[in-house]
Symmetry: C2
Subunit: 195 residues, 2 copies
């Protein structure tokens, strides 16, 4: 691989309906506006394209997360920002993925479960509470909060635009995005090769 600009994997983790996908889409637009390559790996897209057949046991969830991590790794080491918006409930596998990737920014999308239940974007909390769905994170399956994420966004209190600004500021602080939305001028005149 070769890379012209440093990139990273932005790992959004949190309960269902906490706001991960909303933030992923807003962030994708903002990064693209800065003329940087970016891909979102959302839970549903991944379950269709990488993980069909996997269930929601701890083992299957972790396999799913490792696959997402593998793909994020390939993208982000090649100058493309990779945004994961999967629940990724288990701490240990998030750590594994962090170690594999290196340039890894973990963002805890922290929203009280009561608020997630109120939103219930896909109507799945209702079914989980009624016992119609098993192994549902936050209701009948565990969610392990990050201990040392690079950032926590409180999506129960903040508007998405506010959380977005915090994430962008963090990416600037860490050197993945240039300050104030101005990307460094990197004149990429390709060298002439012998071959």
């Amino acid at each position: 691989m070769s890379s012209s600009q440093k990139s990273c994997t932005i790992w959004l983790t949190g309960l269902p309906s906490s706001g991960k996908s909303t933030l992923a889409v807003l962030l994708e637009k903002e990064i693209a506006k800065r003329n940087r390559a970016v891909e979102v790996l959302d839970g549903d897209v991944v379950r269709t394209n990488l993980s069909k057949g996997l269930g929601f046991s701890k083992e299957d969830r972790n396999t799913n997360i490792k696959r997402i991590g593998f793909v994020c790794h390939l993208l982000s080491r090649n100058s493309t920002f990779a945004i994961s918006a999967a629940i990724s409930p288990y701490r240990e596998v998030r750590q594994d993925v962090r170690e594999m990737i290196g340039d890894f920014v973990e963002i805890y999308v922290d929203c009280p479960v009561e608020e997630c239940i109120r939103r219930d974007v896909k109507g799945l909390y209702k079914k989980a509470i009624a016992g119609e769905i098993q192994e549902f994170t936050g209701i009948s399956d565990p969610y392990e909060e990050p201990r040392n994420p690079e950032l926590v966004v409180k999506t129960g209190d903040e508007e998405p635009a506010e959380s977005l600004q915090k994430i962008l500021a963090k990416l600037e602080e860490l050197g993945y995005l240039a300050q104030n939305g101005v990307t460094e001028a990197v004149p990429q005149v390709e060298p002439v090769n012998a071959g």
Copy 2:
């Protein structure tokens, strides 16, 4: 996504021991020398990271190929060359992947099965002929030759360096690499954004 330079997926297909991995590695080096981002998705790496648990039935092989195709798609639409070195024995799924990706260069790594058996890089032909391995492409499982690949390299007759030059010439002809190893000068001064 945003992309500074046009890239593609280079899809090497052929029998086991036909020379796909050898060519993938040579090609990766050559593309990297030209200061372009590149990743190799080799069969074994993929089976570990994306497709653990899948077997070698037609359905499982095709699922594996679709996953590789999905990842190649994400990479190559973001200016990174993706090289697949999986056998990919079935024509129909290669066509599916071609349609998904668009910028797709199919290269038939054409080597007579007798020569592949003689090489037997991993010692698997021997086991397949002895009946110790089932569903082995070329022995007990089908391989469907491409009908209209962008290029055929005859790795039974040609040295790897010769096949490599043909592939590079094809990538130049198709506009994915600049002629004569000289990549176009693309001054990438990033624009100043309002945000």
